[in-house]
């Protein structure tokens, strides 16, 4: 069973208590403690096919619909919706979805879905998610959950108070190497985590980057933290589980290559918990485009490359002198060789798609709904990431001589 599942199975009371300890906020923690899952409207808790609807028919919606098609009898897509009818139509046509809508309420009324995937720009996430909750739907919302921590908190509490499940598109966290990393850490291989390095590279010339650079008024540019805000979840969600302490200190600095008034494209962030620290690097300039995580522990250090899909442990010198130093490279080569073979096996089983993490997360989320268990991403993790992003944005705004209030007005 994956690390993701082990998180999902943890007791809600423990989660809430941990949430309070890690600075989620007392009120939220109390609410989490008192809330229980009461089961969703219309969902047979013993199993069955979930009716899924999707709102927001942009690029990422393609990924959701593709992965939904792989889930067999677990779920089926009953309708898609976009405020722009032509966008809803194109998604429905290309993926042969039975019905498409431009009125979200109408879709909820007609289709009566069990689950709604919210894949619109973040500014609309809160309103759409709350509307889905009102209709008794569980919600998978794309990252960032909302542009502000307060809105994210409201959604997390809203789900809990109604006994509904909310999950967020931390897809990379469910890619095979990230799951392997978490399993290894949970098994105690590296001992206690001491420090985490998280690197997230972004290609401005790629499919997602181009859409943003071509359009100066792109919705991502209007987020409080701009381009970085739209990707910070991927940078920080690998850290969230391991940082301890009530109030982690966050130091952030940003830069925009070539200068300019717009929000930065480069970020360096240092996060200090009580006994664990973390570095985050977001870069659109570093080549090759990297996506990696390294967790330093008291016994060993683990390095994960999410592009190459490798997980290797550091090599300590087990034999003294030059001979020991000689063996290190072979030890590393052997680990990478094993990873390569594993990847070939995964490829041959068709488990190597770009959206493998998305598929896995969706599967866990749906299973949690059907079985009445905890969702795959803990509320405290969602809230921790959301608050960290807000603090990071504040630090960047102060650095640029803007008050958060002023930046909020501008956004």
């Amino acid at each position: 069973m994956s690390g993701a599942r082990s998180i999902a199975a943890k007791d809600i009371g423990q989660q809430a208590a941990r949430g309070e300890r890690r600075g989620v906020g007392p009120s939220v923690a109390r609410a989490l403690l008192t809330a229980t899952f009461v089961g969703a409207r219309g969902v047979a808790m013993g199993g069955g096919e979930l009716k899924v609807a999707l709102v927001g028919c942009g690029k990422i919606a393609d990924g959701h619909v593709e992965q939904l098609g792989k889930l067999g009898t677990l779920a089926r897509l009953v309708g898609v919706c976009d405020a722009e009818p032509l966008m809803a139509e194109q998604l429905a046509t290309r993926f042969k979805v039975a019905r498409h809508y431009h009125d979200f309420d109408r879709m909820l009324e007609v289709e009566r879905p069990d689950v709604v995937h919210v894949t619109t720009p973040p500014a609309a996430h809160r309103a759409l998610t709350e509307r889905a909750f009102e209709s008794g739907c569980h919600v998978y919302v794309e990252k960032p959950v909302t542009p502000s921590h307060a809105d994210t908190e409201a959604l997390v509490l809203g789900a809990r108070s109604r006994g509904l499940r909310l999950t967020v598109g931390y897809t990379y966290l469910f890619d095979p190497p990230a799951r392997a990393m978490r399993e290894l850490i949970a098994s105690g291989v590296i001992g206690e985590p001491i420090h985490i390095d998280s690197v997230f590279g972004y290609d401005l010339g790629g499919a997602y980057g181009l859409a943003m650079t071509r359009d100066g008024d792109h919705w991502a540019a209007r987020l409080p933290g701009g381009l970085i805000h739209n990707n910070a979840d991927h940078l920080l969600n690998k850290i969230a589980e391991y940082i301890d302490g009530d109030e982690p200190r966050i130091y952030a600095t940003g830069a925009r290559r070539g200068g300019g008034e717009r929000m930065p494209e480069e970020l360096r962030v240092l996060i200090c918990g009580d006994s664990v620290t973390a570095n985050g690097i977001f870069s659109s300039a570093i080549r090759p485009v990297l996506h990696s995580c390294r967790v330093y522990g008291t016994k060993d250090t683990i390095t994960v490359d999410l592009h190459a899909r490798t997980v290797v442990l550091a090599v300590g010198q087990r034999i003294p002198s030059a001979l020991g130093r000689l063996l290190g490279a072979f030890d590393q080569a052997a680990q990478y060789g094993r990873e390569g073979v594993q990847n070939v096996i995964r490829f041959s089983r068709s488990e190597f798609s770009y959206f493998a993490g998305l598929e896995h997360l969706m599967r866990l989320f749906y299973e949690s709904i059907l079985k009445g268990t905890e969702p795959p991403i803990a509320d405290r993790q969602i809230l921790w990431v959301s608050r960290a992003i807000e603090r990071m944005n504040e630090a960047l705004m102060v650095e640029r001589g803007r008050s958060p209030h002023e930046e909020g007005r501008r956004a």
Binding site: K59, D62, E84, R94, A207, G216
Partner: protein
């Protein structure tokens, strides 16, 4: 290669020819900083009787359009704007006699192409339909809109050929262009938009490689030439710009579509040979049509069995529609007096020579 295209154009139908004090017609070019848009702006700057407004995004780097703007400051006007909403389009259409609608995405994810090409076109046409004096619209569509998967090898594609019925089985560009054109015709039928459609082939120019998807696919370290003897429907950017300008000016073109493709089109393999002569060695492998079709069957089958682990970038349907080898008819465009003044062999020589120095 002939000299610059500077022949005069007559005023469009919208301008009352007999009114002595009538203002000269105003043209709006959307996508004016693109390859074709900038060439059209340059053409109109020399020949259009009235003002030429060039619409670009505020984020555009005006590398292509700048020479025309600098050379014709009194006639060519830069308009920063967006087609993102009907409201944004409304002021753009006011006081305009002809809209040359070229703005479109050429590459990207399918939703982006639909947003940039289809939604933008709907916004513009909606704004135009609301105008008190709606301008003529010359839409730059594409030869890609034709449904050629069932057309026999050597078959002729003219303006009467059927439009692709299953664009979602082709590629994102075809999907967006078919929907865009269908939408435009709907606006003509329902709201009386004065529409004329140009369907250009592959537009090429100096500095732009003609080795596009219709010729083959680039894979790491190799170019795979597909389709063997299929003619490549090229049109030189200046020839295409002249055709569009003509459609903006001529009477009797509304409600009709026009293929814009040059004469003496090279076959795929000839184009690659010329590329090697003019530019230098190209590591490539040439697949004849039957082998391309066979490879497409394997790719599509694997994509399906692996649930899309590798995308079906080549399918039998796409191969049949693209690489089977057709002939392209440009007689209707020639009927308006248009001639491709840049001969294909000259245009290609110049375009490829410019690549040699890169």
């Amino acid at each position: 290669m002939t000299g610059p295209l500077t022949g005069p154009l007559t005023a469009p139908q919208t301008t009352p020819q007999t009114a002595p004090l009538a203002a000269p017609p105003t043209a709006l070019v959307t996508g004016a900083n693109g390859l074709l848009g900038s060439a059209l702006a340059a053409r109109l700057a020399l020949s259009w009787p009235g003002e030429v407004r060039c619409l670009v995004r505020s984020s555009s780097v005006l590398a292509r359009l700048e020479p025309t703007l600098l050379a014709h400051p009194d006639k060519v006007r830069l308009v920063m704007g967006s087609l993102a909403t009907v409201e944004a389009c409304a002021p753009l259409a006011v006081g305009v006699d002809v809209v040359f609608h070229l703005a479109a995405a050429l590459r990207g994810a399918p939703p982006d192409l639909v947003r940039d090409s289809v939604v933008a076109t709907r916004n513009l046409l909606e704004a135009i339909a609301l105008c008190a004096a709606p301008p003529r619209v010359v839409l730059a569509s594409s030869l890609a809109v034709y449904g050629t998967s069932r057309l026999a090898r050597g078959g002729v594609i003219d303006e009467g050929s059927p439009i692709e019925a299953c664009p979602e089985r082709r590629d994102a560009y075809c999907f967006a262009k078919v929907r865009q054109e269908r939408l435009a015709w709907e606006y003509r039928r329902r709201k009386g938009v004065r529409l004329c459609v140009a369907r250009p082939g592959v537009v090429y120019a100096s500095g732009v490689s003609p080795l596009v998807g219709r010729v083959g696919l680039g894979v790491p370290g190799m170019f795979v030439v597909l389709g063997g003897r299929a003619a490549v429907p090229l049109t030189h950017v200046d020839n295409c710009a002249e055709a569009l300008a003509l459609l903006g000016a001529r009477d009797g073109v509304e409600g009709r579509a026009f293929n814009v493709v040059d004469d003496e089109l090279p076959e795929t393999r000839e184009l690659v040979q010329q590329f090697e002569r003019e530019v230098g060695p190209l590591r490539h492998i040439a697949l004849p049509y039957w082998a391309t079709l066979g490879a497409a069957h394997l790719i599509a089958r694997y994509a399906e069995s692996s649930h899309g682990q590798l995308p079906a970038f080549l399918t039998p349907y796409r191969v049949a529609a693209t690489y089977r080898g057709f002939r392209y008819d440009n007689a209707r465009m020639k009927g308006l007096g248009w001639r491709p003044r840049v001969a294909t062999k000259d245009g290609l020589r110049e375009a490829l020579a410019s690549l040699r120095h890169r």
